[in-house]
C-alpha cells in the first residue's frame, strides 16, 4: 500500500511542550482520525507537515516528497482546513478565488463555482459573514478546486452544530471515494472519528500512544470492571487509568491480557472517547505516584 503521508521520528521541542519521536503513516485512499486531548501536539504535528514549524529531527514525507525541501510541490496538491477561516474575511468568495487562482496550476474555476453552488455558499457575500459550517465548506471548496489529493483538517468540527458536522463528514466521505485521495482529520470529537475514519492515531503528551486501523484499536482495548479485591496485583499493574471507588474499580486493559481476567470481573468494548479518558487518567495516576515518592 502506497503511503500519502509518512512521519518518522519527528521531534520538535518548545519551552513548555515537545513532540517526542512521533511516527505514523497514512495510506492512499483512507481517512485517518488524529485524536488526542487539547495540547497533545496535534496542531504542532500538522504545522510540521505544512513546514510552518521547524522540526528538530525526523522526516516527514507527503506524496513521497520531503516536507521541507519540496514544500511548494506538496502544497500545490494539499488542501488545508483549520478550525477558523484563514482568509481575509472582508472579501467575497469571488475575490478570494481571484487571489488564490494564480498560485495553483490545476485551479478549476468551474469546479469552484460548482462547489459553491452545491455547498449553498453565496459568491457575493463577505466570507466573514458566513456561519462556521459555511466557512469550513468554503475551505473544502478551495481544496477541491485546486484538485488537492490530500486534505488536512485541524479540528474542523469543533463548534459546529450536529447538522453541519454531519454535512461536513458526508463531504469528506464523498471526497475519499477517489482512491488516490486521503484525509488527515484532527479532532477531539471522537464520535466523528468513529463514524468516518479508517485509521486512528492517538497522540498523548507529544507522543504517539496508538496508530493503526480503527478496527485494531477497537479490538485492542476493553474496559475492565469489578471489585478491587477480585483483581490480582499483577493484572492491576497492567491496567491503564485504574480508577478505584467505594464499590469497585474500572480501568482500560489491553486485550492481550484477557486470559488473566477471572470470571468475577466484567469486560466491555471501549470506544475512542473512553480510551482517551483512561489514558489521561493513567497520566494523572503516574504523576500522583511520582509526587508521593517525592
Amino acid at each position: 500500500m502506497e503511503n500519502i503521508l509518512e512521519i518518522k521520528g519527528l521531534n520538535k521541542a518548545y519551552d513548555t511542550f515537545a513532540l517526542k519521536d512521533v511516527s505514523f503513516s497514512l495510506p492512499k485512499g483512507y481517512i485517518m482520525g488524529f485524536v488526542g486531548e487539547n495540547g497533545s501536539g496535534k496542531t504542532t504535528t500538522i504545522r510540521s507537515i505544512l513546514n510552518m514549524a521547524n522540526i528538530d529531527s525526523g522526516k516527514i514525507s507527503v506524496f513521497g516528497l520531503d516536507s521541507v525541501t519540496d514544500t511548494i510541490a506538496i502544497k500545490e496538491k494539499l488542501g488545508v482546513v483549520f478550525d477558523s477561516l484563514y482568509l481575509a474575511d472582508h472579501l467575497t468568495a469571488k475575490q478570494i478565488e481571484k487571489q488564490l487562482k494564480p498560485f495553483y496550476k490545476d485551479w478549476d474555476s468551474k469546479e469552484f463555482a460548482g462547489r459553491l453552488k452545491s455547498f449553498g455558499l453565496p459568491d457575493n457575500k463577505r466570507v466573514g459573514e458566513f456561519s462556521k459550517g459555511m466557512k469550513m465548506k468554503f475551505m473544502i471548496a478551495i481544496a477541491l478546486s485546486h484538485k488537492a489529493d490530500f486534505m488536512i483538517l485541524d479540528e474542523p468540527t469543533s463548534g459546529l452544530d450536529p447538522v453541519a458536522r454531519d454535512e461536513l463528514l458526508d463531504i469528506l466521505a464523498e471526497y475519499i471515494e477517489n482512491e488516490n485521495r486521503s484525509v488527515l482529520f484532527s479532532t477531539h470529537i471522537t464520535s466523528d472519528v468513529e463514524r468516518i475514519a479508517d485509521y486512528v492515531t492517538i497522540l498523548h503528551n507529544g507522543k504517539v500512544w496508538f496508530t493503526g486501523t480503527k478496527d485494531e484499536l477497537n479490538e485492542k482495548y476493553v474496559i475492565l470492571r469489578g471489585a478491587e479485591e477480585d483483581i490480582s496485583s499483577a493484572l492491576r499493574e497492567k491496567c491503564i487509568g485504574f480508577h478505584g471507588y467505594r464499590n469497585g474499580f474500572d480501568a482500560l486493559l489491553s486485550t492481550e491480557y484477557l486470559s488473566e481476567v477471572n470470571d468475577k470481573l466484567e469486560t466491555e468494548k471501549a470506544n475512542i472517547d473512553e480510551i482517551l479518558v483512561y489514558v489521561a487518567k493513567e497520566d494523572k495516576y503516574e504523576r500522583h505516584n511520582e509526587n508521593d515518592k517525592v
Binding site: 505544512l50 510552518m52 502544497k75 484563514y86 481575509a88 488564490l100 494564480p102 495553483y104
Partner: protein, 237 residues
C-alpha cells in the same frame, strides 16, 4: 506570473476593498487643493496617503497562517512586502510632484476668500529655484518614510511587531531632533557647505539630488529586504 507578482496581486486584492476608498478620496482632495494653490495642505495630505497604504501592507503580513499554506516560498512573500512599500511610497512621491506641478500652473486660487488667496499667491510668486525646494521636500519625505517603513518591516519580520514599533518611534524622534538641529544651523548660515549639498542652488542640481535620493531609497529597501529574507525565511509561521 512569478511568485513575487502573485503575492503583490494577492495583497492588493486583500487591501483594495479597505484602502481604495481612502486613497481615492485623498488623491481627489490633493488634486483639488493643488488646483487652488494650497501647497502645504497638499503635502500633508499626500504624505498621509503615502503612509496609509504601507501600513495596510504591514498589517497584512500578520496573515502568517495563510502564507504558510500557499504554495509559495517565504522569501517571495517577504520580497513582495518590500516591493509593495517601495511602490506605494514612490506613487505617493509622484503624486506630490503632480500636485506641485498643478499648483504652479493653476490660477483658480483667485476665486478663494482673500486670506487664502493671499497665501496661495505667495507660493505662486515664489521664484522657480525656491519653488523647486518643495519637490525636494516631497522627495525627502518619501526617502525618510520609505526607509523607516522598510526598516520597521524588517524588524517586525525578524523580531516582532512590538519591538519594531518601539524602534520606529525612536528613529522618528532622533530624526526629528537631528533635522531640527541641521535646519537651525542652516538657517543661521553656519552649515553652508551642507546646505549646498542638501539644497543645490540650481534646478538641475535639485533634480539630480531627487534622483540620488530615490536611488538611495531603492538601495536601502533592497538591502533591508535581503537581510529580512536571510534572517526570517526560515522562521516559523
Amino acid at each position: 506570473m512569478n511568485d513575487i507578482m502573485k503575492m503583490i496581486r494577492f495583497d492588493l486584492i486583500t487591501v483594495s476593498r479597505l484602502t481604495v476608498p481612502y486613497v481615492a478620496v485623498f488623491v481627489a482632495v490633493s488634486i483639488i487643493a493643488s488646483l487652488f494653490g494650497l501647497t502645504f495642505g497638499i503635502l500633508c495630505v499626500v504624505n498621509f496617503v503615502m503612509i496609509i497604504a504601507p501600513i495596510q501592507g504591514i498589517n497584512n503580513s500578520s496573515c502568517k497562517r495563510l502564507y504558510g499554506m500557499l504554495p509559495v516560498r517565504r522569501s517571495a512573500v517577504i520580497k513582495a512586502l518590500f516591493a509593495e512599500i517601495f511602490i506605494t511610497m514612490f506613487i505617493g512621491e509622484l503624486l506630490s510632484f503632480l500636485c506641485l506641478f498643478i499648483c504652479r500652473g493653476s490660477s483658480l486660487y483667485k476665486i478663494l476668500p482673500e486670506k487664502l488667496s493671499h497665501i496661495a499667491s505667495n507660493f505662486r510668486e515664489l521664484p522657480e529655484s525656491k519653488y523647486m525646494k518643495m519637490y525636494l521636500f516631497a522627495a525627502a519625505a518619501f526617502v525618510f518614510l520609505t526607509i523607516v517603513l522598510c526598516f520597521t518591516q524588517m524588524r517586525s519580520e525578524i523580531i516582532n511587531m512590538e519591538a519594531a514599533i518601539r524602534e520606529f518611534l525612536i528613529i522618528v524622534a532622533v530624526f526629528a531632533a537631528v533635522a531640527t538641529f541641521i535646519s537651525v544651523m542652516i538657517y543661521n548660515e553656519k552649515l553652508d557647505a551642507l546646505k549646498n549639498i542638501l539644497l543645490p542652488p540650481t534646478t538641475a542640481g535639485k533634480w539630480l539630488t531627487i534622483a540620488i535620493l530615490n536611488a538611495v531609497t531603492l538601495a536601502a529597501a533592497y538591502l533591508f529586504c535581503a537581510i529580512t529574507v536571510k534572517k526570517a525565511s526560515g522562521k516559523e509561521l
